[in-house]
Amino acid sequence: MQELSVRHLLGIKDITPQDIQLIFETADNFKDVLNRPIKKVPSLRDITIANVFFENSTRTRLSFELAEKRLSADVINFSSSSSSVKKGETLLDTVNNILAMKVDMIVMRHSSPGAPHFLSKHIPANIVNAGDGTHEHPTQALLDSFSIRERLGEVAGKKVVIIGDILHSRVALSNIFALQKQGAEVMVCGPITLLPKYIKELGVKVETDVRKALAWCDVANVLRIQLERQQMKYFPSLREYTLYYGIDKKMLDSLNKEIVLMHPGPINRGVELSSDAADSHHSIILNQVENGVAVRMAVLYLLAQKG
């Protein structure tokens, strides 16, 4: 019987293609559960999960919380803005205090890259990384690939371009690892100032012309411009960014081929995507959100078996 090769989901870099396949097969079953009249199973009824979010999040936290509740786990939520972190408590002390309340799993978001890796060396609970700084966001990458697989049948051999703020994105890095592990070709596209210097070393194509990138790809995964993470001006204005990198329906229709349009959300409507593109038949953005719950259920279920 197959099982995950890891005890924690810290990043896509650490897991194998077989792990990804197992997560997808399990998520298929949970997606089936989510379409039933009763959308809940008792699998994790003896497990307590703490959602520890040191950084703001709406959809990821809601998606995890729903996944946990659909699996019948007990759930506690922790937000740093109203916690003792403000009083100077260390990360390890905060988490150890939570674990002292007999918590079995930690879903953690932190602004510092590597924070969940650090914790995994010091605590006995299973850890799921829900985003660590600009490093990785593994469950987002898994649900993105799962959504591509659902729309196109398979990920292997597909051409996927990730467009936008690659430099500040944890979604981009996790997606690159996930897509490559499944045999897809990956391109990144954005203003040269928002492309990390090392990016070619990851074996991805690099493009700065969004029209050429769209002409090449089967799937366009458009990222949000993360103004909150930018310490300086990387492009002259949002208006100029939209002019050069914004995607609208007219541009998609001019391609004379079907492409799949994705976005991890939240969308800056009218900036990276126009409303008519975001709501077009190309878009699988809401499927991504729906699949997020099933994929996170699969990750939690499989990790819980690792004890």
Binding site: M1, Q2, E3, E25, T26, N29, D32, V33, R36, P37, I38, K40, V41, P42, S43, L44, D46, Y301, L302, A304, Q305, G307
Partner: protein, 182 residues
């Protein structure tokens, strides 16, 4: 090696035919009844029952597959991880007479999980259990079958193996296997 044949192909065919006639006695033309095969191994029994019933009745009896993995009570207590199978139920269970079908009834825990899993698809009018083999005196829960193909007395060190041609076996057969010999 101890692998003892307890039911051969001919006897198995007679058993399935007898079970189908017992079902017809209680369910008539199956207009209010459905069959749910428990994954993974009850699937083959359910398919065999369905094809035999359809040749007797001249109509297809609604038959689905129910996976109980997420409803089991031994999650995290097993040596090997539990992998889920597909659930495929294309009809409403609400108000129907449901016949749960499995190959072997042992502790009863799978059937308990199946009752939980089935409720997620609606509230049935009543539920019956059909098994090919009932391992006597091994129950952990107060669950008994309504229809039984064959009863066996067995030790904990033994297991009942049902082989089907659909699973690339030479012929349909039921064996009693001593675990240490596997």
């Amino acid at each position: 090696m101890q692998k003892r044949l307890i039911v051969n192909q001919q006897l198995l065919e007679i058993m399935v035919m007898r079970l189908c006639h017992q079902l017809i006695e209680n369910h008539g033309d199956f207009s209010d009844s459905v069959i749910l095969g428990l994954q993974p191994r009850g699937k083959y029994v359910a398919q065999r029952i369905q094809s035999t019933l359809s040749s007797i009745l001249g109509k297809q009896v609604p038959t689905g597959l129910l996976d109980t993995t997420f409803y089991r009570d031994d999650f995290r207590r097993r040596d090997t991880p539990l992998a889920a199978n597909a659930t495929k139920i294309d009809f409403l269970v609400e108000g129907k007479k449901v016949i749960l079908v499995d190959d072997v009834l042992y502790t009863g825990r799978s059937v308990r999980a199946a009752l939980d899993a089935m409720i997620a698809f609606g509230r049935p009018a009543n539920v019956e259990l059909l098994v090919l083999v009932d391992r006597l005196y091994t129950r952990h829960l107060p669950i008994q079958p309504t229809y039984v193909g064959h009863q066996v007395n067995s030790l904990q060190s033994q297991r009942v193996l049902v082989e089907w041609k659909e699973q690339q076996a030479n012929e349909d057969a039921i064996w009693l296997v001593t675990k240490s010999d596997e």
